[in-house]
């Protein structure tokens, strides 16, 4: 749910990073946190297991600056990718304005990617949203690993609607910001349309 505060002149949006376990969602947020100036970010909150797998979510509020006198604030969330945390994923997905799907490029994770996309479509539908309409970006992460499938092959399997696609190596930050900006752009364009 986009929250427009006319008194404080702020636009608040929620972006959710979705995708299979160990795909690199948390790493995306950690990188954004690292490179953002202190005045433009809040705390990075990670509710994780002792082995650093996301248990409930990660949360990072960031500020993109002003547009037409409105501050634009994005609340970034990750879901837990492991299959059995589906009820937590549904909770985090509620009220999302845009989705980043972080795919794991490795050949052996293709089925996990496909399963996660269909799980996303299903969970969105349950909440009355259509994956074909919601702002959505595909990130092909782990491009540095030897078993990464070619981009053409991955997009053939994972592309759902001609969404923007970004190659990424999240720990190095490659592709992280372009992904975030692309989803933010779509969210703000949607918002402008809703007037």
């Amino acid at each position: 749910m986009t929250f427009i505060n006319y008194v404080a002149r702020e636009i608040n949006c929620k972006i959710v990073y979705y995708g299979p376990g160990l795909g690199g969602k948390t790493t995306n947020l950690q990188y954004v946190y690292q490179i953002t100036n202190a005045e433009n970010k809040g705390k990075l909150i990670s509710l994780a297991t002792e082995t650093e797998r996301t248990l409930f979510f990660d949360f990072l509020p960031i500020d993109f600056g002003q547009i037409r006198g409105f501050r634009t604030r994005f609340h970034l969330y990750t879901v837990p990718g492991q299959v059995f945390y589906d009820s937590s994923r549904k909770l985090i997905l509620k009220g999302a304005d845009g989705i980043v799907f972080v795919a794991d490029s490795q050949e052996e994770r293709l089925d996990a990617n496909l399963e996660s996309i269909s799980n996303l479509a299903q969970n969105l539908q349950e909440q009355g949203f259509d994956i074909a309409k919601i702002p959505y970006v595909l990130q092909l992460n782990k491009r540095d690993l030897p078993s990464a499938l070619p981009v053409e092959e991955l997009t053939r399997h994972l592309l759902i609607k001609g969404e923007p696609v970004f190659e990424a190596v999240a720990p190095k930050g490659d592709g992280v910001l372009p992904t975030l900006k692309a989803v933010a752009r779509q969210v703000l364009i949607e918002l402008r349309k809703s007037a």
Partner: protein, 172 residues
Amino acid sequence: MSHGAATLGAACSVSSNTFNLHDLEYQRIQTVLTRMQKELRAQLVLLINRSGQPIVISGPAENIDCTALASLAAANLAATDGLANIVGEREFSVLVHQGRQRSLFISDLLKRFSLVLVFDASASSGLVRYKCKRTILLLEEIIQEFQRKIEKEEPVTGIPQFTDEELEELLR
């Protein structure tokens, strides 16, 4: 990121997927929250939405990160709703976390919002519950009245009509 901005402003129109806060409603909500905050000598009272965004904040809030608090409180409430479902309850509409120095009260409000209170652990939690219940009724009235108003009148205007160039400049 500071939470000061949310303290300055907010009030509300609720369309299906955006929530707009305008001055009049903001003032009314702020008044209700401030009264409760004073009566209970609470450290902090927040109205948040269920996506975890702070909407109106009242109280000194020193060294409490309201952005983080709102996000965690909303998640906490959502998780508790999930638990309620599993054991066959419709909801647990109120959560109280009792600490040694500070306690936390989180309550549902119209399924789309939540009232969050940080108060001194020495305060009577019965009194807190009582006041919160009353405050929630008042807030529900304000929000529902506002909702009826916008349903009758024109759709909310004022969504910034920035140009593509301005958007690209923002995302540079």
